[in-house]
């Protein structure tokens, strides 16, 4: 075996240019795979984080049935036992009770259908980025009643500016007419244009009064450390939360609340993996080609080895080792380049400044930033895949070399 190893290593470097090119192709493949998988992971994490920090939180506590119907029938009482249960779990990083309703917002002649969310001004920032998104004026404050913060496009459509009194108009939970004047205290910019056009926030207390909703909320949004931590926390909370037989509570993870986001991510992943699979296959053929060429070139030499008493199995091992060495060297260099690159880009996200790019990214409701995310599974998985494919590609030339008959091989040119 030691002899085969030495022979294989020398053979690899007999034609440095060919070997170099093959290694370069492998390095290229490894780099691209690791880099793009990290980019996908970063993109998806960003999409999830951006989305949960505007809409749902990583987890949402609602009345059972709210998610399907989105009406006021499924209120949850945000009372001390529920709050205590939520605060009692160390994985819960933020708690934001909300009341989401629909109505008409009008400024004199102009009116616009809106989704209006009542939030606790002090708690909201622990889950969502809404308070930071205010670009004009300020966010809501508990001291001031009947203030409203508008999406920037909504404000523009209504022609509303700070200090304007707008009429919010809807039907209350009690089926009474609901109408109240709200003063514009802030304008926020939301990345998703469709939301920015029809979203407004008011204080939870004002919303509860407006919709005649008592102390109920439609949802309690929770923030946890990461998207992955959501599912185990949800599982735990389902056991921990107070039982309410008359109005059952349910706990949803972000992907249940935003199924279209998860679908989008799965689709995007599928596309990326198909592209990368094609890349890996091309590289595999490169390795196959190099080794096969090497084998054909060395038919005579292999014949000599066989004539000297090398067994076909030893020839197979020799050629196979050469391929593994090629792939291995390429892998090591590729990883050595890709991992620092990923770390560097993870620390230095790229801002997409061009307008067309911004517009495109905004369609997906995220900020125009490209980010990378290093996960240890990425280089391990990528390396294993590429190495595995290279190993498969090497089978044929190795098998072919071991099949050579000494007499024919010696006669070959």
């Amino acid at each position: 075996m030691g002899l085969e190893l030495r022979l294989a290593w020398r053979n690899v470097w007999r034609n440095p240019r060919r070997t170099g090119l093959t290694i370069a192709a492998t390095v290229f493949a490894v780099f691209l795979v690791v880099f793009f998988v990290a980019m996908g992971a970063g993109l998806h994490e960003k999409m999830i984080e951006d989305s949960v920090r505007v809409h749902s939180g990583h987890l949402t506590v609602t009345g059972a049935g709210y998610l399907e119907h989105k009406t006021l029938e499924y209120g949850v009482s945000f009372d001390p036992p529920l709050l205590a249960a939520l605060e009692g779990d160390p994985a819960v990083a933020g708690i934001a009770p909300r009341l989401t309703g629909f109505g008409l917002l009008s400024k004199t002649a102009k009116a616009q259908g809106v989704m209006v969310m009542g939030v606790d001004p002090e708690r909201e920032g622990s889950v969502s980025t809404l308070p930071e998104r205010v670009i004009e004026g300020r966010f809501l404050a508990n001291g001031t009643a009947r203030g409203i913060v508008l999406g920037s496009r909504l404000a523009a459509n209504l022609g509303a500016t700070l200090g304007d009194e707008l009429l919010l108009y809807s039907v209350a939970y009690s089926l009474e007419m609901a109408y109240e004047l709200f003063t514009v205290v802030g304008i926020m910019r939301l990345p998703e244009p469709t939301l920015d056009r029809r979203f407004a926030v008011i204080r939870l207390a004002d919303a509860q009064e407006f919709f005649v909703y008592g102390d109920l909320v439609t949802e309690v949004a929770l923030l946890t450390s990461s998207a992955e931590a959501a599912a185990p926390l949800a599982e735990r909370l389902r056991g921990e939360l107070p039982e309410r037989p008359e109005s059952p509570i349910s706990v949803h993870t972000w992907n249940e609340v935003l199924p279209e986001l998860e679908q989008l991510i799965l689709l995007d992943d599928a596309q990326m993996y198909i592209t990368l699979a094609i890349l890996v296959i091309v590289v595999a053929f490169g390795i196959l080609n190099t080794i096969l060429m090497a084998v054909l070139e060395r038919t005579r030499e292999l014949g000599v080895l066989l004539a000297l008493g090398f067994r076909p199995a030893a020839i197979f091992r020799l050629i196979y080792l050469e391929s593994l060495m090629l792939a291995g060297v390429g892998l090591c260099i590729g990883l050595a380049l890709a991992i620092p690159a990923v770390f560097w880009f993870e620390a230095h996200p790229i801002l997409l400044e061009s307008e067309s790019m911004t517009a495109m990214v905004e369609m997906f409701g995220m900020e125009p930033v490209m980010t990378w995310k290093f996960k240890i599974t990425n280089p391990i998985g990528s390396a294993a895949t590429i190495f595995g494919v290279a190993t498969l590609a090497a089978l044929y030339p190795a098998w072919k070399a071991s099949r050579a008959r000494p007499v024919d091989a010696l006669r070959a040119v």
Partner: protein, 272 residues
Amino acid sequence: VSVAEAGRWTAILCVVLVGAGTAPAADLLPPDADLTAREVVSRVEDNMRGVKSSTCEATMTVVSPRLPAPREVRFACWEDRDGDRSFIRILAPAKDEGVGFLKIPPNLWNYIPRVERTVRIPPSMMMQSWMGSDFTNDDLVRESSALDDYEHGFLGVDPAFAGLDGPPRRAYVLEYLPHEDAPVVWGRIVVWVDAERFVPLQQEFFDEDGVLLRRMRLGDVREVQGRSVPHLWSMVPLDKEGHETRLRYQSLRFDEPVDASVFTKRNLSRRE
């Protein structure tokens, strides 16, 4: 059989079953030979022909699982049939007293005295609830003509249709299919018409997929100035369990002098 396929077949089966369940054709007699569907509709229209204006006082009662007790809204109405304008003033509950609605097609205006604002209800809100009831804003401003905007089909005769109240009556069952360009939000309407007095007794509203969304029944038919007019309307949305809105006219008069200034935005925002 894939899941998607199974789902599709289930959906088709459901549509067939629902269709069979709601199709009035089951125990109907064949249509009478002497009247076409269009003639029946025309007779219904005749009942109200020549009416130039109307005034009313009515009570609307909303029943919902949300409410511990039914909610009542009392209002007065004025209608100018020639000009297709109408005006409603809320009389009770006290909280909403003085709220006004003015319809000048295609607009619907709503005045709210407590905040002294007038809102124009935009088209996107037309299918929303009117005053928390099971009637929609669209029901208030609907402009479609029963005669001109639909294709009428005769589904049959129900020899004993049990309506909202009173004894069972012989009813013509008609199908209204809106024309392509008609300002109608429904896919199909099935109407039961009293074969004797030519007043509608029931209307079933279907969406474009043929799903029955709501059922309106009419009763308490009284003679008003020589015309047969239902004084009780009941609307039941079938997608919301336990909901019903009843509208009862305490008084309804035709062609009493109504000042044209009633139907103005000035009148709408007049403080009482």
